[in-house]
Symmetry: C2
């Protein structure tokens, strides 16, 4: 298969892209963002279009599609460069594989790709936005493109998935303290308890923390709350859920 | 679902991307490029990595994946701007739908997305390239990113596909003239006849030409050949296949 290539390739010119929209999601920091789309579904996100892309006619016919591709910027890591190899959490954070064999956020061009569900299209004044489900993007993520998901093109159920052939095992048990239960019951966010459970069952800790043989405490910002929790083995205890000051 | 959005979004800064590789494919012009990946499989394409991305370790582990995502530039249309609505060939070229409900090449950011099969990884001297199948990219297409296809994330076989829910009907019959048959038999390209048939069965003519009630002649550059053919109704006749001067 590997015949010698002909004449050298002419490197094409660089190109500048302008964000067309911005994501509003409950994930206020990179820690605890699901590692792939579709893993956490009890929360919606909004994709707000920026002018001049807030033109309702640009979305005509989109509602007939159930799923969309979002092409986005890894804006929180975009200035941090890339390495030829990375250590995916899926391999315990020890083994190195090539960056192009992973979905790592540290890549030559910091472009991300997510398939999400389209729940609604909205318009109010001169604002136009999409309501989306299954989003794995941190709040403020700039969007470069939106494409319809075409199942006969994009769906390859028998594809071989290398070192990540199946969804991660979710064998974490989540329990809530009385204070955390109360905060959920009083919150203006519907399904807050379910959402926090779905996020934490993913075990967002960095791989090297998972070896710890003792309770360790963590905090994460979700919606306008500071959520504190502790983990030991396969048990996560939500300690408290406090509105941000 | 459409609650009012909070504070206005802060438009994020534009970002410049540098191509990491370049496609070599038999499609020497946009006419006759398959309209989606995976429709023409009897030809391979090469993705040649550009320095400094021609680092073999960046591909470690990639061979365990059967399919890849290519994020690429629509370089032949990138300077032509965008319109909020486009007329997809799938709807006969008459009906207008929103650009974000299509895979049109004329978009706010001219970014394309294709799933292709990974056939081989190659190295020769300081050249590194991938052999790919099912490619729908014109020769010279700049590549921005390569990601592994993860079936449990990317495959949504039940997604609703809007105005393009299934592959196009391929009811074109292809016949070859004696001269065209001979040119295929003598060519250094294996499967040239099969490849040309697979390309032409897609009916690459623009939608408005499909109404013509007479034979009409066309030419297309595939590999290093000028291929001439004529079409009337559901019959395509390959007239001649001549090496380019």
């Amino acid at each position: 298969m590997c015949e010698v290539l002909p004449t050298p390739a002419q490197p094409p010119a660089a190109l500048t892209f302008e964000p067309i929209g911005i994501i509003r999601s409950p994930y206020k920091e990179k820690f605890a963002v699901p590692r792939q789309p579709g893993l956490v579904n009890s929360a919606t996100a909004q994709l707000e279009m920026l002018p001049p892309y807030n033109e309702p006619s640009a979305f005509r016919g989109l509602a007939e599609f159930s799923h969309l591709w979002l092409v986005f910027l890894f804006h929180q890591t975009q200035d941090k460069g890339w390495n030829p190899t990375v250590r995916p959490p899926r391999l315990g954070g020890n083994e190195r594989v090539g960056v192009f064999a992973t979905r790592s956020t540290f890549r030559p061009n910091p472009i991300g790709l997510s398939v999400v569900t389209l729940l609604d299209m909205c318009k109010s004044g001169n604002k136009v936005w999409l309501e989306l489900g299954g989003v794995d993007l941190v709040d403020g993520t700039p969007i470069l493109d939106i494409k319809p998901y075409l199942p006969w093109v994009d769906s390859v159920p028998d594809a071989r998935g290398g070192f990540a052939p199946a969804p991660p095992d979710l064998n974490m048990e989540i329990i809530f303290s009385a204070a955390a239960e109360l905060a959920c019951a009083r919150s203006d966010i519907p399904n807050l308890k379910e959402f926090i459970s779905e996020v934490l069952v993913q075990d967002p800790r960095p791989a090297y923390k998972k070896q710890l043989q003792q309770w360790q405490q963590y905090g994460v910002r979700l919606y306008h709350y500071n959520v504190t929790f502790e983990v030991f083995g396969h048990l996560t205890r939500v300690l408290d859920i406090v509105p941000e000051p």
